[in-house]
């Protein structure tokens, strides 16, 4: 085969492969719908400040025992949704980043020092901070995505993070487990200080 013919064959083969390699047009509405859930689900998980605070809620609930162990994970998403609603509506809320960082500091300290308020007071503390987290999620809804699926995604992810905290918190029944939880609380509080410093700087 002479060189020009060879080149033409390679060109033809490349064109054929390129034509067969066509990707999907991504023109279906359902693509955005699916991304809405995934984006919402990843939002709390992809932010270390959210993760620390959510896990701390579960840890604190596990330390306090019943009924706080289920009262805190029930109160948090409900109040967080109120904050999310404000975010969806575009209602400004001051100091969201400071509030999120402060939530990690306060909840981490509560776990580290094994603070034992009444379940209602604990739910109120958790609820106050939940508004900041919800507002952050609500304002960061990407354009063109389903708000419903985005909301469901971040509510479910938040609940899963609480479950992780409760799961770790089951170590509380052992002496070494209690020490471990207090250590974990210290780490969460230290993380909160870092994020507060970052927000101020």
């Amino acid at each position: 085969m002479t060189p020009p013919t060879k080149h033409r064959s390679i060109l033809a083969a490349t064109t054929l492969v390129a034509a067969l390699w066509a990707q999907s047009a991504l023109a279906h509405i359902l693509q955005g719908e699916a991304y809405g859930f995934v984006t919402g689900f990843l939002h709390p998980i992809s932010g270390a400040d959210h993760v620390l605070a959510m896990v701390a809620v579960g840890l604190w609930g596990a330390q306090l025992g019943a009924p706080a162990i289920w009262l805190l994970p029930v109160a948090f998403p409900l109040v967080m949704a109120m904050g999310g609603m404000l975010g969806f509506l575009g209602v400004p809320f001051p100091g969201v980043e400071y509030g999120i960082a402060a939530s990690a500091i306060v909840l981490g300290a509560a776990v580290a020092f094994e603070v034992r308020p009444s379940p209602v007071i604990a739910a109120l503390v958790v609820g106050c901070f939940a508004i900041f987290h919800g507002h952050a999620h609500g304002t960061e809804l990407p354009a063109g995505q389903s708000a419903l699926l985005y909301s469901m995604g971040f509510v479910i992810a938040t609940g899963c993070l609480h479950a992780v905290g409760i799961g770790i918190g089951t170590a509380h029944r052992w002496t070494w487990g209690r020490q471990l939880l207090r250590g974990a609380g210290t780490v969460v509080a230290a993380g909160g200080v870092f994020f507060l410093w970052k927000a101020i700087a």
């Binding site: 279906h28 409900l78 999310g84 419903l148």
Partner: protein, 208 residues
């Protein structure tokens, strides 16, 4: 002579390449998507319910609530809700309204999620009324805009069948939970539904 043979070979190759190129350009749709091919109106109705969280989640919440209350409530819900849903969608078939927004669904998320969180001690009569109201409202909204036709009627049957399956599975799963933590997990699930309802409310008020 050699040159003629080479020209003929190049020409053949060009013709082949052109034919292949044209074939790749005129390829038809793959028809791999259900929304392109369709599976008939019964499955369209079934899939509509299963892929619409606005409809699916309230039915799921009702299944959780009925399951928490026990087997008699579950038995009542698995028949009352699909029948009401079917009646509502048949009533809605001739209605002109195409969409009622998400306000109704968000209120149902809130009410049913709240009842699950509170583990509300409803009477059997109240549970039946709740099933009837949810089925009629959501069925009616599903039926609107479909137009009165045989296919639409078959689609409503698919919808009701899907409602039946979901409520049966969820209620049966919750009824058999004996451990305290299992019932608490269901109530936590209710708080997620109520929280989604609050967020949907904000979304529907904003109108996006």
């Amino acid at each position: 002579m050699e040159g003629d043979r080479m020209n003929a070979s190049v020409l053949r190759m060009r013709v082949r390449a052109s034919v292949l190129f044209v074939f790749t350009l005129v390829c038809g749709p793959a028809e791999a998507h259900l929304n392109a091919t369709g599976m008939g109106p019964l499955y369209d109705g079934l899939m509509h319910f299963l892929t619409s969280p606005e409809d699916l989640v309230p039915a799921l919440a009702l299944g959780l609530l009925a399951g928490l209350r026990g087997a008699p409530y579950g038995r009542r819900a698995i028949f009352a809700l699909p029948v009401a849903w079917l009646m509502g969608s048949l009533l809605g078939l001739s209605a002109a309204l195409a969409s009622a927004g998400t306000l109704a669904a968000s209120l149902w998320f809130l009410v049913l999620g709240g009842l699950v969180v509170a583990d509300a001690k409803l009477s059997l009569r109240a549970m039946t009324a709740l099933c009837a109201l949810l089925g009629l409202v959501h069925g009616y909204l599903n039926g609107t805009g479909m137009g009165l036709s045989t296919q639409a009627i078959v689609a409503t049957l698919g919808l009701s069948a899907a409602v039946f399956v979901v409520v049966v599975l969820v209620a049966a799963l919750v009824v058999q939970l004996r451990a305290q933590w299992g019932r608490i997990a269901v109530r936590v699930g209710g708080s997620w539904i109520a929280a989604s309802g609050i967020l949907m409310l904000g979304w529907s008020v904003r109108g996006t």
